[in-house]
Symmetry: C2
Subunit: 304 residues, 2 copies
């Protein structure tokens, strides 16, 4: 086993690819898995075709690679369905099995991808130590339950374990029904854009910063849950206006005057623990968003 | 699918066999599984050889039987190891998979076997609504996490779900290192017996009553967690003295004067919810224990 060999599952995904790129840049021996790795995918490291539901195949790959570190991003992400999808249950099983293979093959540090949906959404900023873990969704329930099991399991096995709770990531490759592309794509096409939740506040973070944050957690010795967020919160109406203004198309933007009431008005987190890993807070959101909009304007396909 | 077909996993086990017997008596079409069903096992209903870790075999059996009800007792129980065994992780995966097969095959009501080890052990009687779920062991962590996932999953699937949290069961077939046999076996053999935790208080329940309680939960429409306990608590020194006195061998009993401090001094539960199912509280513990001692004295092998 080499000391710095990391396996990134879901390594070609929305977040995973940024962690793969970051760790390769840092000189790690990076291996990543995807269900259908595209041969054209321009990712460093070694890609492996792996369906984590195939437990035999997962065990075989872990035995071959014997990674010292593992970043588990692979999970159900089908937009509009993943919150309550029965597939979440399969992903718990697959993650437990993967973890056991990793520990039994001599793995030393495991980083899992959690979610702000594990927390009780009570409008106050989510804190790893004090916010109750009362998920409102099946997705959040499964992630939190997997975390509880893995934390105890890895403690028993003497394997380090951290769990990054992702808040609101945006960036290249984001699915088009999500907030940022739902505004940006029509604006870039010169069509009307509608912000349906202008009063909601969210902790937005560029996906490259999310990938870097996970990489920093992996490099650190932090254990347990850690929020992967910017520590700030933005009103979505203000973000939509910024996007429209940046493109000089405020005329195309409509703000709904009746925000949808089902989800919390505020959903943000403390990034105190994340900063303890040595992670540097990302640039102010306007700077980051402006650069993303410019990049998306140059190659619109990347904002799909 | 018949309306009253139940599959009892772990049906030949310490608790499962009593539920099998009870439900058969009540006229149910009872099927049970065991990893190695003994051909000599005197159980009603239909036994099936099934290793629940074999997901394909589990799915096949569920598709064949299409039970309306399921009682999931099968789990890791190796004495002295199960509290922290990595096998608990496998059993979570197997239970999730079994549950999914059950729901997808049209199952209507699922009863899982939980444990008092899901609760924070803070010396007060455990209550389903108010006691924090802060397990001190890996076993308790896995059971509680499985419960959280299954409760949300079955809600989404429109399948009824209840979860019986077992306290301290004793009776025929109990493993010989556990409290009751550790006192009773030597006394029956005319040898010295030592009670190492005379000051601890536990909610003892005869295993036939545990099986009956689970059967009653299955017959009821109760959903969510329910304590499977007597609602009383006994000092273990007093129980040991009762056993010795009942056999007229108080001379053989030693009570340790330094109780082990690692586990809680009191561990008992409220049985209010269980009684709401129509379950009748068992006889007073002395009556139940006297009958068990007499039975064990007649056929000592049964107390193994």
């Amino acid at each position: 086993m080499t000391d710095r060999r990391v396996l990134v599952t879901g390594g070609s995904g929305f977040i995973g690819q940024h962690a793969v790129q970051r760790l390769a840049t840092l000189g790690w021996d990076v291996h990543w898995t995807a269900r259908n790795p595209s041969p054209s995918m321009d990712l460093p490291g070694t890609g492996h075709n792996l369906d984590l539901m195939d437990q035999g195949a997962a065990l075989k790959l872990l035995r071959e690679l014997r990674p010292s570190h593992l970043l588990q991003f692979a999970w159900e992400t089908k937009l509009g369905e993943f919150w309550e999808s029965a597939r979440n249950l399969d992903w718990v099983g697959a993650s437990l099995h993967l973890s056991k293979c990793f520990a039994e093959c001599g793995g030393r540090r495991f980083i899992g991808a959690g979610t702000c949906a594990e927390y009780q959404w009570d409008e106050t900023p989510c804190d790893e130590q004090s916010t109750p873990l009362v998920p409102a969704t099946f997705y959040g329930t499964c992630k939190n339950a997997a975390r509880a099991i893995l934390q105890a399991y890895f403690r028993n096995m003497g394997v380090e374990f951290a769990w990054g709770r992702i808040f609101w990531a945006y960036g290249p490759g984001e699915k088009c029904d999500r907030f940022v592309p739902s505004i940006l794509r029509p604006l870039l096409a010169g069509k009307p854009a509608r912000c349906r939740q202008p009063l909601q506040r969210r902790d937005l973070m560029h996906v490259a910063d999310v990938g870097e944050a996970f990489s920093q957690v992996l490099l650190s010795d932090l254990q347990g849950a850690v929020n992967i967020c910017s520590g700030t919160q933005q009103r979505l109406g203000e973000v939509a206006e910024f996007m429209a203004d940046h493109l000089g198309r405020r005329d195309l933007l409509q703000l709904a005057d009746t925000p949808e009431p089902a989800r919390p008005l505020r959903l943000a987190g403390s990034n105190r623990r994340l900063l303890e890993t040595g992670y540097h807070a990302p640039p102010a959101w306007r700077t980051r968003m402006a650069a993303f909009i410019d990049s998306a304007a140059r190659s619109p396909a990347k904002s799909d």
